[in-house]
Amino acid sequence: MSFLIPCPHCGERPQPEFAYGGNIGDDPPGTMLDPLSEDLYFNDNVAGEQFERWFHRFGCERWLVLRRDTRTNEIAESWDRVTAP
């Protein structure tokens, strides 16, 4: 985990400056539990691109959204927002 994150406000910064805030978007419909429990306790474990929230804790103190490939840590895009674009 030493990749760089392109903060929409601060530019490229090392990942340890940021706090991970979880992935957002398409949770598949629950198969084991009700939607609330699925939502709270079952995160997708995507091998590939996903939207995720990060908080720039040691920087602008803003939430942002990234599209990151979990296999390569390549970040395709970042946005100054908190919901999936």
Binding site: M1, S2, F3, L4, Q15, G21, L40, W63, R81, V82
Partner: protein, 861 residues
């Protein structure tokens, strides 16, 4: 033996240095390494091997092998062939049980073969079980490299320096230097790093040279930790040029590890850099040009080259080296014995591709050249020179090379051991590696990787390409953990009143990142003062968030489970902060200071997560709310005790009478002349005020309150008094009395929840738990013995919960505490037992409500 001065030598004969080796003084020149000076001094045995305690000596002289590991100034396992002599070092031999020349543990080598085959320690002493601790202790003493001693070397931790650079070139050989110069000429910032000390004086215009320094690995984002002279550089490069060259591979034959058996590059370095005659009578087994040149160099140095055998010829000779007193004395070639003290031998050169592989490049086996070479480099990584495979080739790995033909000298693994491992079923290369520990020693595969893959490929019959290679991982060179970990950082926080507490004789305690006074000498007296007189406590550690904006009210109703919209201006209310799953993560107060302005306090450790969650909530809903974290800007004190009102009246013109300033009222006004926010709350159970004011005036306000309280016997309060006093009231401390699963419903706070106000954080989950009913309850208890925090409670002999807080009450003398019990036990007087350990039990019963002043008359009065 030192030669007369030569052109291009790295030593400066006008400057001498001395160090001691095993107590004996050794002379060196500036430019020498500890290893070269010892070799020049006539030393041939440098260390003993890991398992068999075989003598070992300089073999590569380039920091690749483990032939020269020594302890330097207490630091174990230093490759002394690349450690420059500074002067004054205390160097000791390691991995010996006698002396370097005579080591009684050598017996393991002579008898060990059948007794201690590869992996023997997985089988030996497993049964009977009682034997294992003894056998383990014995094995530990017998094996391992060096010893971590006491003192400064053990404590040593290096600084970390972050560097950003256009181009990082790794390897200062010819190709590396060219690449560095080329990029510098283009105006790029360039760092050139090399492990070898002789490049310390290298100067290329526009290039920063770090030597000796080791690039330990290539991490994602092109981050390269470079370890150099007690510093760890974290180099973030836009581009990395790998010029790590190729490494002489050992030739496999019986006795290939003896001191006196040396690679061609070692000859180049001994003669070329340090002007040392490597030996008197030499035999050269030449697999490549480097060996031919080594033979030439030896002649120049006055060594008698008895015979040069070209291994590139079709038929490989049978070679066996033998020793006298631990050092090479003769070599037998196809049964013909030649006396010699130097045997220059290598199987050729294998590209040092490890850093490239770490960066994501592929590695393929070139059967024609007999090497693994990198291909498919990733973007931003360039390879230059022989690391690409240019000019590199390695002879075939012979079969049945001999009982003591070491594939992996670091770990004493022979070709036979690898065959045996495959026979035992360890056929996968990664598994075989872990079982035999081949490539896992101090050379990190530099010398043993290729031969071990080939030996395994042959034993499994699958071929090198199909077998593949093990994953290349950092570090590329052994590095002290203290240097990787860096200097111990103590991110401790101190309040603005820290020095005041120090002068008052505080004993400190860590609470999260904060250093807080635990007590000022007598916690019992502090507790008594609050009940009978007055006490003053620094609560500046509280998180403080200033929340304002048109949507502030709706926002707070959304993030807290209780109703905030009914909170009037100049009033304060307790609040719990939950996760979406309804679990308590923090608590604090909400203070309404204006129509659209609030101050929210959080616990000392909770402010960051609350702040981040607040910002997320606001952003998700696009609320018009602004939040300023004023935790550091404001300091705060808590003034508690029956005399608190009288003390406060002396330092403020705010009307503090009971009628004008009621419980949970908030006032703004000067305290000791400074602007302040005052609120009446009662966490400690007595009449109490919490006062917030600018941190710049913290000492002034504190001193004024202490002076005003002097006649009432005011005392400063520490964390211990706080914990004891709030326990009397049954007030929870988040993090002590709560865990990651605690809900408000378990803590008797269910009535606080405003179910009908619509969405708030955790409402769905809490609603669900409320329907189902909580499984456990956090209750007060009284007991006949004082349990530790965490003590198990027993219900009907079974564990049914645990104690979270317990103290002996200063008021009643009883043991009081908080504990989780099964929900059906949450009734006044319900009995349970405490498991006090060693079979002892204590009797306890549930107490509902506060232990002290249950109706709250003292704090409201």
């Amino acid at each position: 033996m030192r030669l007369p001065a030569r052109d291009g030598e790295a030593i400066d004969r006008t400057q001498t240095r001395t160090f001691t080796f095993d107590g004996k003084q050794v002379e060196a020149y500036a430019g020498d390494t500890i290893g070269s000076a010892l070799y020049a001094d006539g030393r041939r045995i440098f260390t003993r091997s890991f398992k068999y305690h075989r003598p070992r000596g300089l073999s590569c002289a380039a920091g690749n092998c483990a032939g020269c590991l020594m302890e330097v100034d207490g630091e174990p396992s230093v490759k002394v062939c690349t450690r420059p002599v500074e002067g004054g070092e205390v160097v000791r031999s390691q991995t010996i049980s006698g002396s370097l020349e005579r080591d009684p543990m050598r017996v393991v080598d002579h008898v060990g073969g059948p007794v201690t085959p590869v992996g023997f320690y997985y089988r030996l002493g497993i049964r009977p079980k009682v034997a294992w601790p003894h056998i383990e202790r014995m094995l530990r003493r017998m094996t391992g490299l060096g010893r971590v001693g006491e003192g400064p070397a053990k404590e040593r931790r290096s600084d970390v320096e972050n560097r950003q650079i256009d181009v990082l070139v790794i390897g200062a050989g010819r190709s590396g230097q060219e690449a560095a110069a080329r990029h510098a000429a283009e105006g790029k910032g360039v760092i050139l790093v090399d492990e070898r000390a002789e490049y310390a004086s290298l100067a290329i215009e526009g290039v920063e040279v770090i030597a000796p320094g080791t690039a330990l690995g290539v991490y994602e984002g092109k981050l390269v930790p470079v370890h150099a002279d007690g510093l760890l550089y974290r180099v973030r490069a836009k581009k990395i040029v790998v010029a790590t060259g190729a490494i002489d591979q050992p030739l496999l034959f019986d006795g290939n590890d003896l001191p006196g058996v040396m690679t061609p590059s070692a000859v180049h370095r001994l003669v070329g850099l340090w002007s040392i005659r490597p030996g008197v009578r030499a035999v050269v087994l030449a697999a490549d040009e480097a060996a031919d040149q080594a033979a030439e160099l030896l002649r120049e140095a006055g060594t008698l080259v008895v015979e040069t055998i070209d291994l590139r010829a079709a038929r490989q000779p049978r070679v066996k080296a033998s020793a006298k007193r631990g050092v090479l004395a003769a070599v037998e070639i196809d049964g013909r014995k030649i006396a010699c003290d130097l045997l220059v031998a290598s199987a050729g050169r294998q590209p040092a591709y490890s850093l490239l592989a770490q960066s994501g490049a592929g590695v393929t086996y070139d059967a024609e050249k007999g090497i693994f070479a990198p291909d498919q480099l990733v973007e931003g990584i360039e390879a230059v020179g022989s690391v690409t495979g240019d000019g590199a080739a390695v002879l075939a790995t012979p079969e049945g090379a001999g009982r003591r033909a070491f594939v992996c000298p670091c770990e004493d693994v022979t070709a036979k051991d690898l065959v045996r491992a495959v026979g035992e079923g360890f056929e996968d290369i990664e598994i075989a590696k872990r079982y035999t520990t081949v490539t896992m020693g101090p050379c990190q595969g530099r010398l043993c990787h290729l031969h071990s893959v080939r030996a395994l490929a042959r034993a499994t019959g699958v071929g090198e390409e199909a077998l593949g290679t093990t994953t290349a991982r950092p570090p590329w060179q052994p590095t002290p953990l203290g240097d990787v970990g860096g200097r111990r950082l103590n991110p401790g926080k101190r309040t603005a009143l820290h020095d005041v507490h120090k002068r008052a004789g505080a004993s400190y305690v860590w609470t999260g990142v904060w250093r807080r006074p635990d007590h000022y000498g007598d916690a019992a007296a502090e507790i008594r003062a609050v009940h009978e007189g007055v006490g003053l406590m620094d609560v500046s550690t509280l998180g403080k968030l200033y929340v304002s904006g048109p949507d502030a009210e709706a926002f707070l109703d959304g993030v807290f489970p209780n109703r905030i919209s009914t909170l009037k201006i100049d009033r304060v209310r307790y609040g719990i902060f939950n996760t979406e799953s309804g679990r308590i993560i923090d608590d604090g107060t909400i203070i309404r200071v204006g129509e659209n302005d609030y101050l929210v306090t959080t616990s000392s450790g909770g402010v960051d997560q609350v702040y981040e969650a607040f910002l997320l909530w606001i952003a998700e809903r696009e609320l018009r709310v602004d939040i300023v974290n004023v935790s550091g800007a404001l300091s705060a004190v808590s003034l508690s005790g029956p005399r608190a009102r009288e003390v406060l009246a002396r330092v403020t013109d705010v009307d503090v009478t009971g009628e004008a300033f009621k419980f949970l009222d908030v006032r703004q006004g000067p305290v000791a002349g400074m602007p302040a926010l005052l609120m009446r709350i009662g966490f400690l159970g007595e009449l109490g005020y919490e006062i917030h004011f600018p941190s710049a005036s913290a000492e002034h306000v504190w001193d004024a309150l202490m002076a005003a309280g002097a006649e009432f016997g005011i005392v400063p309060l520490g964390v211990e008094a706080l914990k004891a006093l709030r326990l009397e009231k049954g007030h929870i401390i988040v993090g002590i009395d709560t865990d990651s699963e605690t809900t408000m419903l378990e803590c008797g706070m269910g009535p606080m929840i405003a179910w009908d106000k619509g969405e708030f954080i955790g409402n769905e989950a809490l609603g669900r738990i409320n329907e189902r009913g909580a499984d456990r309850a956090l209750v007060g208890f009284v007991a006949d013995a004082l349990p530790n925090e965490g003590t198990a409670i027993l219900v009907g002999g079974e564990v049914g919960g645990r104690v979270t807080s317990a103290r002996r009450s200063a008021v009643s003398g009883q043991v009081i505490g908080l504990a989780y019990v099964p929900a059906d036990l949450g009734e006044e007087g319900a009995a349970f037992e405490l498991d006090l350990g060693e079979g002892r039990r204590g009797a306890a019963k549930v107490h509902i409500g506060a232990f002290y002043d249950p109706d709250g008359e003292r704090m409201r009065g």
